[in-house]
Amino acid sequence: MSALLFQDVSKLYPARQAGQGTFKALDGINLRVEEGEFFGLLGPNGAGKTTLISILAGLARASSGSVQVHGHDVQADFAQARRLLGVVPQELVFDPFFTVREALRIQSGYFGVAKNDAWIDELLHNLGLSDKANSNMRQLSGGMKRRVLVAQALVHKPRVIVLDEPTAGVDVELRQTLWQFIAKLNKQGHTVLLTTHYLEEAEALCGRIAMLKQGRVVALERTSDLLRSATAQVLRFKMDGVLPDALAALARVTGRIVQLPVHNAIEIENHLAAVRSAGLVAEDVEIRQADLEDVFLEVMNRGQSEASK
C-alpha cells in the first residue's frame, strides 16, 4: 500500500471579484508516494505545492478527487490519516504562551501520546534545542522557532513526514542538522515528502521528484533519471557588464556568474563570440554537467513554450 496516494485532486477557488473566473490551484493531480521514499515536490511559487499539502493535512478540502495516507482517506477517516502524518508548516508560527517543552508536551497530548518526555528529549537533542527546552517561544530566534516546528511535527512519531519549505530563511548549520536528522528518520523507514526552493537540497536528498506548474504535474521521475534527461550541458563564466539581450533570455545570471545551456561546440563558440562582440570579457570559463536547477528551468520553460503554442 502506498504511503501517500493523490487521485485526480483538483482545487478551485471562487472568483475574488465579480467578472473574474474561478482560479484552479490544482488541476487533476495524480501522485503515488511509496513507503520509505524521500519524495520531492518542486515548482515555482503559486504552482500549488502548498495547496496540495494543505489538502493532505486536512487544512483545506479538495474540490474533487481523493487523498489517502496509508489507505486512510484524509476526509472520511481524518483521525487515522492525521495520526500517520507529521506536517511542518511553511509559515513560521508559534504559540507565545508556552515554553518549548510545554509546546511539545501539549502537541503530544493532542495525539493522545502520554509520557512522551524520552522522545521529546531525543527530538530536542537531535535538533540542537536541548538548552532551549525551558525558554519561552517568544524568546527564540527565527531559526530556533523553525526547529521547534519540526519537533512539533514529529512528537507522535508519524510514519509520513511532510516538510513544506522547511529551510526557507534558515542558516547553514540548521539546514545540516535538520537534513541529517530527517535522513536518519528516512533510513528508519519514515516516508518523507519535501517541498523546497533549494534545488541542491532536493537533488541531494530526494530519490524521486515531481515538478508542479500551474496546478499540474509536469515531470515525475527518479532524480537520477531527471538529471540524465537534461538535454544540455552548461557553459559557465564570469564577466562584468550587461549581457546582450539574445543571451540574457537564455541565461541564469547570479551577480557576475553567467550560466547558459549548450548542446554542442558550435553553440559554445557562438555564445562566447556574442559576448566578445558586445565588448565583454568572459573569465573563468568552464563547461559542466546540468544540475537539478538547470533541469527545473528547462522543464518549466518547456511548459511555457508548449502553453504558448
Partner: protein, 251 residues
C-alpha cells in the same frame, strides 16, 4: 491525558498564564461597579422587599462577570490563534469537532467561574447575602458560562480581524448583559422595556442565578432554566456545525 483533555488543559493554561489580565482585571472592574453603584444607589433603589440594593446587585455583577469572561475566553483564544497562525497546531491533530467544542467551552466555563468567584471573594464581605438554593446558583452559572463559551466559539470562528471581534463584543454581548437586569429588577421598567427584556436570554441567566441567592426572582427559575437550556442547545448546535465543517478554518 487524551486529546480533548490536553486541549482543555492548554486553554486553561493559556488564560492562567496571563491571569492578571484575564481574571484579576475583570474582578477589579466588578468591584468598582459594586463600590460606586452600591454607594450611589443603596438608598434610592428598592428591589425586593427584604433585600438591600447592594445585596441585589452582587449576584448580578457576579453573573455578568461570569458571562462576559466565558465569552472572552473562547473568542479571544480563537481569534488570536487564527491571526498568529498557531491554530494550525490544533488543525493538524486528529481531534474531532466534539473535542474542540468540549475543550473550548469547558475552559471558558472555568474562566467564567473563576472570575465570578473572584468577585464574590473580594466584595462578599460588603453585604449580607444568603445562599437559599446553592444548586440553582451552580446550575445557572455553569449553563450560562457554557452558552457564552459556545457563543464565543462562533464569534471566534467567524471574526477575521480584531475589530470584527470587538464589534461582536461591544454591540451584542455588552448591551445584552447590561440590559438583562444586572443593575435593576425588570419590574421597575415601563411595560415596553419589560416585554423587550423577556426576549433577552441573558435576562433569564441572571434572574435564575439570583433566585439561587434570594429564593425570589422576576420569573420562575424553571422558566429561566428552559430558556437558557434551549439557548445553549441552539448555540451549541451552530458551534458544532461550524467546527465540523471547518468554517473559515479549513480552507
Amino acid at each position: 491525558m487524551t486529546g480533548w483533555q490536553t486541549l482543555f488543559y492548554k486553554e486553561i493554561l493559556r488564560f492562567w498564564k496571563v491571569s492578571f489580565q484575564t481574571v484579576a482585571a475583570p474582578v477589579l472592574t466588578s468591584v468598582l461597579y459594586m463600590l460606586i453603584f452600591g454607594h450611589v444607589l443603596q438608598d434610592h433603589v428598592k428591589v425586593y422587599d427584604q433585600v438591600p440594593y447592594t445585596a441585589f446587585l452582587l449576584p448580578g455583577l457576579m453573573m455578568m462577570s461570569v458571562l462576559q469572561n466565558a465569552f472572552a475566553n473562547s473568542s479571544s483564544s480563537l481569534i488570536q490563534s487564527k491571526i498568529m497562525g498557531n491554530l494550525v497546531f490544533v488543525l493538524l491533530t486528529p481531534l474531532s469537532h466534539w473535542s474542540w467544542f468540549v475543550a473550548y467551552v469547558g475552559s471558558s466555563v472555568v474562566r467564567g467561574l473563576a472570575v465570578g468567584l473572584g468577585v464574590f471573594v473580594i466584595t462578599g464581605w460588603m453585604v449580607h447575602i444568603e445562599f437559599v438554593y446553592p444548586l440553582w446558583i451552580l446550575v445557572f452559572a455553569v449553563l450560562g458560562a457554557a452558552m457564552l463559551g459556545a457563543l464565543g466559539l462562533i464569534a471566534g470562528l467567524w471574526a477575521e480581524k480584531f475589530d470584527q471581534m470587538a464589534a461582536f463584543q461591544n454591540f451584542i454581548i455588552m448591551p445584552m448583559t447590561f440590559l438583562s437586569g444586572v443593575f435593576y429588577s425588570i419590574h421597575s421598567l415601563p411595560p415596553f422595556w419589560q416585554q423587550l427584556s423577556h426576549l433577552n436570554p441573558f435576562f433569564y441567566m441572571i434572574d435564575g442565578f439570583r433566585y439561587g441567592f434570594f429564593g425570589q426572582s422576576d420569573v420562575s427559575p424553571w422558566t429561566s432554566l428552559s430558556v437558557v437550556g434551549l439557548a445553549f442547545v441552539l448555540v451549541s448546535t451552530i458551534a458544532l456545525t461550524l467546527l465540523r465543517t471547518g468554517y473559515k478554518i479549513r480552507n
